[in-house]
């Protein structure tokens, strides 16, 4: 057990539970969260101890609910935080940074949550893990389970991109396609976890799993010189990443690792074809209307019934952020713009984030004086279908110098 983990507590009613494989409160069915011995953490953990740790998210082990497991850690996290001057110039944001999550072992931020969840799964003695996934989580669970010698059961909705399917199946996982949406697959995974006692990372191990998301905020602060940014833009699927990014900065301060109390504005990015959180934000309500049939090329964000949707709304509203929902055309345009200006090829979800950044900058929600961090959560090679004919050779020519001179676009 991680030396600072105390147990689990209900986010709604505060009921306490031991640190076992359990995700909901018996009393109110509210979500459970990991609790830590903050007092001891403050007195024992310093910036220096963290900076001396491994070049992975496990440098933050004292703030995580598991101990680094060499069988599980594939070098997850500790991705580059890049100054994005050329993209920032497009939006009038001179202090724009990008957190490049494509650099994770399976090329998305999901390696963070899985690294933590599977380390905990092994501590708790599970031999079978699993998830319901829109693709990136499937890749991450399959790869980490393979490396750790665990069995993996992975449920995905029908119709995912070929790259996401191949980079799950290749690791030998039991990859099951469910004839339905992500929410259908997710409901089935909840019933399967309950029935078969498997460690579904985003169901039975959810309190541990979500803690992995906080490391993206920890790293951001460390990479900014142990300072929190002013504004972050985070893609929203279930809403778990957005809520933990906000909380991650506060936790770091509570642990005594940030001098200044963070005051981070948190904004969310969704696709118009599946934007239940953006829609509730617009309507000014906490009642999230689930989307039965998501219709967007941003399949990794196509969760119609976001588990942490209400908490994401609260984080955005209490921090004076905003949520936008962008069209498929804007997504593809933003993927191209990011690649052309920064040399970074993101999947559709990253396009959603960059398009939202543009929208919020134009609307004046994100201000030029703010230090802004946008989270580029996954890589473009996984969603090639979504780009159609958009990114293609300019011409096909015969191998002759004259033909090349003629074909050049400038």
């Amino acid at each position: 057990m991680s030396s600072y983990l105390l147990g689990l507590a209900c986010r709604e009613c505060g009921a306490a539970y031991p640190a076992e494989a359990r995700s909901i409160c018996d009393e109110c069915f509210g979500p459970l969260e990991a609790t830590y011995d903050l007092e001891r953490l403050r007195s024992e953990v310093t910036r220096e101890t963290i900076e001396g740790g491994p070049a992975s998210l496990w440098r933050y082990q004292p703030l995580l609910p598991a101990t680094r497991d060499p069988w599980v850690d594939l070098g997850d996290g500790f991705t580059p935080l890049r100054r994005a001057e050329r993209l920032g110039a497009e939006f009038g944001l001179p202090k724009l940074y990008l957190k490049d999550e494509t650099r994770n072992p399976t090329h998305s931020f999901k390696d963070r949550v899985v690294s933590v969840a599977l380390a905990r799964a092994r501590e708790l003695g599970f031999d079978t893990v699993g998830c319901a996934s829109t693709g990136n989580l499937a890749n991450a669970v399959a790869a980490h389970a393979a490396a750790a010698g665990l069995r993996a059961v992975i449920l995905v909705p029908a119709g995912l991109e070929a790259g996401k399917i191949a980079s799950t199946a290749v690791y030998g996982a039991a990859l099951i396609e469910v004839d339905g949406t992500y929410d259908d697959a997710n409901r089935l995974s909840g019933e399967a976890a309950d029935e078969f006692g498997w460690a579904f990372v985003n169901v039975s191990l959810r309190p541990y799993y979500v803690e992995g998301s906080k490391t993206i905020a920890f790293e951001t602060a460390e990479q900014l010189g142990w300072r929190a940014p002013d504004h972050v833009v985070v893609p929203v699927a279930s809403g778990a990443l957005l809520t933990r990014v906000g909380k991650g900065f506060r936790d770091l301060h509570e642990a005594g690792l940030l001098e200044e109390e963070p005051n981070v504005r948190v904004s969310g990015a969704q696709a118009a074809g599946c934007g239940p959180v953006a829609e509730a934000f617009e309507r000014g309500t906490e009642e999230i209307r689930p989307v039965r049939y998501p219709d967007t090329i941003a399949k990794s964000l196509a969760i119609g019934d976001p588990a942490d949707g209400v908490y994401a709304l609260r984080e955005v509203r209490s921090s004076s952020g905003a949520v936008a929902a962008v069209s498929d055309e804007e997504i593809v345009e933003a993927v191209g713009l990011l690649a052309r200006t920064e040399g970074l090829f993101t999947e559709t979800a990253g396009g959603v984030t960059v398009a939202t950044l543009s929208r919020l900058a134009v609307a004046g929600v994100i201000r030029p004086d703010e230090t802004v961090v946008a989270y580029i959560t996954g890589m473009g090679l996984k969603t090639l279908e979504a780009f159609g004919e958009r990114f293609r050779p300019a011409r096909t020519i015969s191998p002759k110098l004259e033909a090349l001179a003629e074909a050049l676009p400038w």
Binding site: E12, I24, N202, S238, G239, A307
Partner: protein
């Protein structure tokens, strides 16, 4: 009769059985019928206004009742109502 299938966290409230047979022509009638026999279950399922609590999802034949008529969703003899915790999943 319709069948109500409960998540394991709720089973001990109805005597440990994962499936319970109840009467009712709508989800509301069926769940109220069940809750009427088990007071502890009632306060976990329903909020003060008689609606389903935020952290509970209800399905009829695998379809979320929020995509149908909510608690007024009709149920037929032999159909199954599933009650599951709402907070699960993520990408």
């Amino acid at each position: 009769m319709v069948t109500v299938r409960l998540h394991s966290a709720m089973r001990n409230l109805v005597g440990g059985s994962p499936r319970v047979e109840v009467q009712g022509a709508t989800v509301r009638e069926a769940l109220e019928h069940l809750a009427g026999r088990h007071e502890d279950l009632a306060r976990r399922l329903f909020d003060r206004d008689g609606g389903i609590r935020r952290f509970v999802n209800v399905f009829v034949e695998d379809e979320d009742i929020r995509h149908r008529d909510g608690l007024d969703t009709e149920v037929e003899d032999g159909q199954t109502i599933s009650v599951l915790p709402a907070v699960a999943g993520g990408g």
